[in-house]
């Protein structure tokens, strides 16, 4: 990545020309490029989830005589999970605001609460999975259950990774302070965390609410 003093990469500027379509300032700084690249990753992650949603929608009725959606899902649990993840996403935004002001106490507090509500969500989800397996609805029971555990489990795995990342960010902010490269990572984390909440909106609507309609 070029800094302001080095010669910019070939193709990114046209020396001396005012109208290049890319500007004559060279590439954007890392604080723009890195979150933008991460945004592209998050979007490709959503494409991955769209394939899992499509699989689920194709297989939701292939129950092989086993349990069907309306027998398995509990709306109260899902409502609490939804609330926990939404509040977690909201507090993550507060953490970014505090971090921009370089306020260590509020940044760490907000990040801890973000992780706490994320953890609540994860515990509820794993409890639900355990309950389903114990009543004879494990992933190998039917194509519907395979696709259910793949879709919702993939989201849960993302949340787990997000929690590990969150812990790392708290440690890095604590140890290294609000340096620019740490702030970039924190912003990327917040993009990831908000994106997970967006995917959960689709999951609770398509899997849980539509699945339990009378």
């Amino acid at each position: 990545m070029t800094t302001g003093t080095e010669a910019p990469a070939i193709g990114l500027t046209h020396m001396g020309s005012e109208d290049t379509g890319l500007g004559n300032r060279g590439p954007q700084s890392k604080s723009i490029v890195v979150p933008y690249g991460f945004w592209l990753f998050v979007l490709s992650d959503m494409v991955l989830f769209s394939a899992l949603f499509a699989t689920y929608a194709s297989l939701v009725h292939a129950t092989d005589g086993g349990p069907v959606t309306s027998q398995l899902f509990d709306r109260t649990t899902v409502a609490i999970e939804t609330l926990a993840l939404l509040i977690s996403s909201f507090i993550c935004g507060i953490a970014i605001i505090a971090a921009k002001r370089e306020n260590m106490f509020w940044t760490q507090t907000a990040l801890f609460l973000t992780g706490f509500f994320g953890f609540v969500f994860l515990v509820l989800e794993l409890t639900e999975f355990g309950h389903m397996i114990s009543i004879g609805a494990p992933p190998q029971r039917s194509a519907f259950l395979s696709s259910f555990f793949t879709l919702v489990g993939c989201h849960g795995a993302h949340v787990t990774c997000g929690l590990l990342w969150l812990g790392t960010m708290m440690a890095q902010i604590w140890a290294k302070g609000f340096q620019q490269h740490i702030m970039r990572r924190l912003l990327c984390f917040s993009i990831f965390w908000h994106a997970l909440d967006i995917i959960w909106v689709a999951i609770f609507t398509i899997v849980y609410l539509i699945g339990t309609l009378p």
Binding site: T3, G23, R25, Q28, S29, K30, S31, I32, V34, P35, Y36, W39, L40, L43, M46, V47, S50, F53, A54, T55, A57, S58, L59, H61, A62, T63, D64, G65, V68, R75, A79, L83, L86, I87, S89, F90, G93, I96, I97, K100, R101, R141, A143, F144, L145, Q180, H181, S190, I191, H194, D197, I198, V201, A202, F204, T205, L209, I210, L213, P214
Partner: protein
């Protein structure tokens, strides 16, 4: 690695809050409020009997898309401003692929299932083995 931060022209990264602390906090609170309202309506629509039954699923999908929009605007700060063009274009392409994959798959798989020339009990997905 040394970093030479120059003033930014014309671009903001996604998820970057506004500069003014009050306005950015208000943005998150408005987003949280709208998301809570939309979630509440979703759960209400799913459990009420006062809405025409076959329309409920469509209504839920519309509410979900609305809530995703709320998250994008108020939490990820994707705006229509000129400094957000790159973010919006990437998002538009992502949405295009997502819809192609989902609608294409559901459409094709439903038709293939209907057109399979097999015995009636095999036509019923509920009896198909995984």
């Amino acid at each position: 690695m040394t970093e030479h931060e120059q003033p930014e022209f014309g671009n903001v990264p996604p998820g970057e809050p506004h500069d003014n602390m009050l306005s950015e906090t208000v943005s998150y609170i408005v987003g949280l409020g709208l998301a809570l309202v939309l979630t509440g309506i979703s759960f209400w629509v799913a459990s009420t009997t006062s809405i025409w039954g076959p329309g409920v699923a469509t209504g839920l999908v519309v509410l979900a898309i609305a809530q995703m929009g709320v998250h994008l605007v108020f939490f990820l700060h994707i705006t229509s401003g000129p400094d957000n063009t790159n973010n919006v274009l990437a998002l538009a392409f992502g949405v295009l692929i997502v819809f192609l994959v989902m609608i294409g798959t559901i459409w094709i798989m439903a038709h293939m299932n209907n057109n399979m020339g097999v015995s009636p009990e095999m036509m019923n997905l509920q009896t198909q083995r995984g």
